[in-house]
Every structure is written in structure tokens, then in C-alpha cells.
Amino acid sequence: MNKYISSRALEVFHARDVLRQLVRQQLILRYRRTALGYLWTLVNPLLMMTVMALVFSSLFKVNFEEFAVFLFAGMVPWSYFNSVSTQSAHAFINNEGLIKKIYIPKLVFPLSISVALMIDCILSFAALLMIIVIVGGGISWAVVTLPISFVLLFLFSFGIGLIASVMTVFFRDLQYVIIIAMQGLFFLTPVLYKHDALSGKVAWLVGLNPLVPFIELFRAPLYRGVVPEVNIIIGSFLWALFSVLFGLFYFYRQEKKIVYRL
């Protein structure tokens, strides 16, 4: 078993150049030949969040600046998780031509998606953080915990992305199911509202949502200016560990079948 794990890890390590190229391909190609180029990655979430903050701060009748920071802290982890889940569904399908012609450790396809999106996520996060500082929002020392938040978010999303990428090969309908499920999940995730603001019939559903501690990992240092509570850190750590281990286990069980079903 240990031998199996180390040989697999070595294989992915040897494929790091392919991984780097695939990540580069994703980052560069999207906005090639547009005037703003890669800046779109930063401008896009910025504009969307501004619109959302404007609409919902007036709808909820709360202070715009405060709500903008609140929303932004929740949107960073949410949109990363959302993009990884929906884009990973195409990881193997879009690379069918390559997979059927040449052997590459297949893990690099979903991995490249998670890595490229994480780079996008960190850069747009940095841009948003700068804007908060410029408009006069305070930043506390608690933000030094954010690297841990990003690592845990990455592991959790990557695990889910792996499962989505493999399952979609077998059931193509899943790519559409995921999009709809994500829309539903958005409202069950405390991004627009505070976790305790929801009561009634669906409150217990939010309690089951594994994304809740991940949102809090970002919201505590950015919005409340405190280090996340221990139970939040432990909760998200356990979810991340479970997700990535189960994702890898499922992926390696199905890996050889993928090429026959593309």
C-alpha cells in the first residue's frame, strides 16, 4: 500500500512540467486577444461583487461598506469552490483527444484546474483586499491565518472536484446537475447572510453544509478581525482531509476505466 502511494506520488511529481503547462494554458488562454487580458480575472469578480453588495446592502438596509467586506469574505471561498466543482466536471471530457492518444498521469487534469483556479482566486483576493484598504476598511492581524484558510479550501474543493471529474465521465448529465446543485447550495451557504440569521425549516440544512466552516475561515479574520475559533479550524480541517482522501481513493479506483468511457 505504501509502495503504491509513493509510486503514484512520484508519477505526479514527474508530470509536474505537464501540470505547469496545463495551468499556464488555462490562465493565459481565457483572455488571450482581449484588451484587458488577464486583468479580467481581477475585474470580473470585483464588478460582480460591487453589484451584489450594492443590491443587497440596500435590500437588507445595511451599511454598504460594511456589507461589501462581509460579502467579499464569503464570496472568495464560495466562488472558488463553485468554479472548481463545475469546471472539474469537464476535466477529462475536454481532454479526451489527449487521453486517448498519449499516457499522462490523469490526476494532472483535475489538479491543473484546481491549481489554476486557486491562482486566480488568490490574485483577485489580493485585488479586493487592496480595495478594502483604499476605501478605508480596517485589516486586523488575524489575516495572517488566511494562508491556512486557502490551503484547507484548496484541499476540500480539489477532493470534490476529483469526484465530479470522474463521475461525469460515467454520467454526462452530471455536468448540468452540478450547475443546478451549486445554485441551490449557494442559498444554503451563509454568503449573503449571517449563519445565525437563518431560522425555520431550512436552518438545519445549513447546519449540515460542509462549506459553512470554510466561509467562517475567511469571514472571521476579514470581517470580524479575529482568528477563527478552534472548532471552525478543526471542522474545516476534517472536511478537507475527508474530501481529499475520499476523492483520491475514488479517483484511483476508477482511473483505468476512464479512457474506455470517454
Binding site: 503547462q21 498519449i102 460515467f170 452530471l174 483505468k256 474506455y260 468511457r261
Partner: protein, 248 residues
């Protein structure tokens, strides 16, 4: 020293009758287990055992759909099977599909790095071979142009030059010889032969009988996934051609 041993290998494909199975079908199939399956299975490679040793120049012949390319892809690990074992010693380079992994939006130079890394070259190796690849492809003036603006010939020249830039221990070829004008074809052939000469083991699939006889010292005949004959090119080729003619 390179060596390949294939032990009792089978590769099973499913042919779906109408469409790919959807989630609905899957759920439905849980409830009606006795229903007819929506696919049939067939063996593209049927219990094949073979051993290739250093110095072997192997030609694989057979009709369309005999499992030749599937066998090659199994050697390159594109198809991995639970039935049978493939053991490989030595660095294997697949030349199955020249230009696989080229991205049309990327420039020629970017594609050297993208496709090169897919072919298994390291960044350092690619830096080293880059000038030679560009000059062999005669693309000095267009190397920073996206390849979607290339003519077919330019595209093939770049892909071919890159794929043949390194010398592997084990060379696997599927219907070689790229396009291009007559002068390039001549140079490409020479480069190809040099690559074959330097390889420890060469395995090729081809329908060109003259080519197989001239390049190979061993011929394997596959039919419907099964090994029919394996031996000296003249013997097997005669058998194969006789079999083909009498069948028609």
C-alpha cells in the same frame, strides 16, 4: 537493454448501442437488473502474449480493426487492462499521433513547450532542443505565430520535428511519415530512419508491406484481436498476404 513482455493481455471495449449511459439509465438499471444491457462487449485484444527483446524491429500487420493500434496503445499505457500484464524496461516514446496536444491558440514556440512536456521532455531538455526543432521544421519566421494560422504542412513539420527530437530506447510508431513537400519528406524520412536505427526496440503498425519488409526483422500478424502468426517478415508476410487474398 530494453525489453517488453506482454502476458495474456486482453482489452475489452464496450460498444453502446444508442448513446452513452445517463444517470437516468444507471438508476433505471438498478431497479431492473434482468433487463438487456445497453451495450455489448468485445475484445479488441484477445489473450495476446508476446515478448520483444533488444534489437527487435517489429512490424504489426492485420486488417482494419484487428487490434493493432489498440495493442500499441496498451504498450504506451493509454489503455490499461485488468486482464493480463504488460511489463516494460526502458524509456518508451510513443509516436502514435503526431501533434496530439497542440493548442491552436498557442504560438509555435509555446506549443513546443506544451506538447514537449506532454511527450515527456523536461523543461531543460526542451530548452536544449528548441533551436534544432525550429530549424528542422524551417519555421524560424513563424515560430511566434499562433499555430492556428499555420498551413497543414507547417503544422505537420513542427509536430514531426518535435516528436522526433529525442531518441528513446523503445520506439512505437503508428503509420508513420508525415506530410510536407517533397524536400521535407526526404529529410523527414532520413530523420525517422536514424531514430529507428538508434532505438533499442522498434514496433510499428503499417499497411505498407514494402516498408514493413524493409524496416522490420520480425512481423506479428493480428486478426480480430488474436495473434495469428509471429516470425520472420518474409514468412509471416507471405502467410498474411495469402490469407488476405484467399479470403477475398
Amino acid at each position: 537493454m530494453s525489453k517488453i513482455s506482454i502476458d495474456n493481455l486482453s482489452i475489452r471495449f464496450r460498444v453502446y448501442h444508442d448513446r452513452s449511459p445517463s444517470l437516468k439509465d444507471f438508476v433505471a438499471s438498478i431497479f431492473k437488473r434482468r433487463g438487456k444491457p445497453s451495450f455489448t462487449e468485445f475484445l479488441a485484444v484477445n489473450h495476446v502474449s508476446l515478448e520483444f527483446n533488444s534489437g527487435d524491429r517489429v512490424g504489426i500487420v492485420g486488417h482494419n480493426g484487428a487490434g493493432k493500434s489498440t495493442l500499441l496503445k496498451a504498450l504506451c499505457r493509454v489503455y490499461e487492462s485488468d486482464e493480463g500484464v504488460v511489463r516494460i524496461e526502458g524509456r518508451l516514446a510513443p509516436l502514435l499521433e503526431i501533434g496530439a496536444g497542440f493548442h491552436p491558440e498557442f504560438t509555435g514556440r509555446e506549443n513546443i513547450y506544451l506538447n514537449g512536456s506532454i511527450l515527456g521532455y523536461t523543461q531543460e531538455q526542451l530548452k536544449e532542443i528548441e533551436p534544432e526543432v525550429i530549424s528542422f521544421a524551417e519555421l524560424e519566421d513563424f515560430i511566434d505565430t499562433p499555430v492556428k494560422y499555420y498551413s497543414t504542412g507547417m503544422y505537420m513539420r513542427l509536430a514531426f520535428s518535435l516528436a522526433t527530437a529525442m531518441h528513446p530506447d523503445i520506439l512505437v510508431l503508428d503509420e508513420i511519415f508525415a506530410g510536407g513537400d517533397a524536400a521535407f519528406m526526404e529529410r523527414a524520412k532520413r530523420r525517422m530512419y536514424e531514430m529507428i536505427d538508434r532505438a533499442n526496440i522498434m514496433i510499428m503498425v503499417s499497411h505498407d508491406h514494402v516498408l514493413v519488409r524493409s524496416l522490420c526483422n520480425r512481423v506479428v500478424w493480428l486478426d480480430h484481436g488474436k495473434l495469428v502468426a509471429d516470425g520472420h517478415p518474409d514468412e509471416v508476410m507471405d502467410l498474411y498476404l495469402r490469407g488476405t487474398n484467399s479470403a477475398e
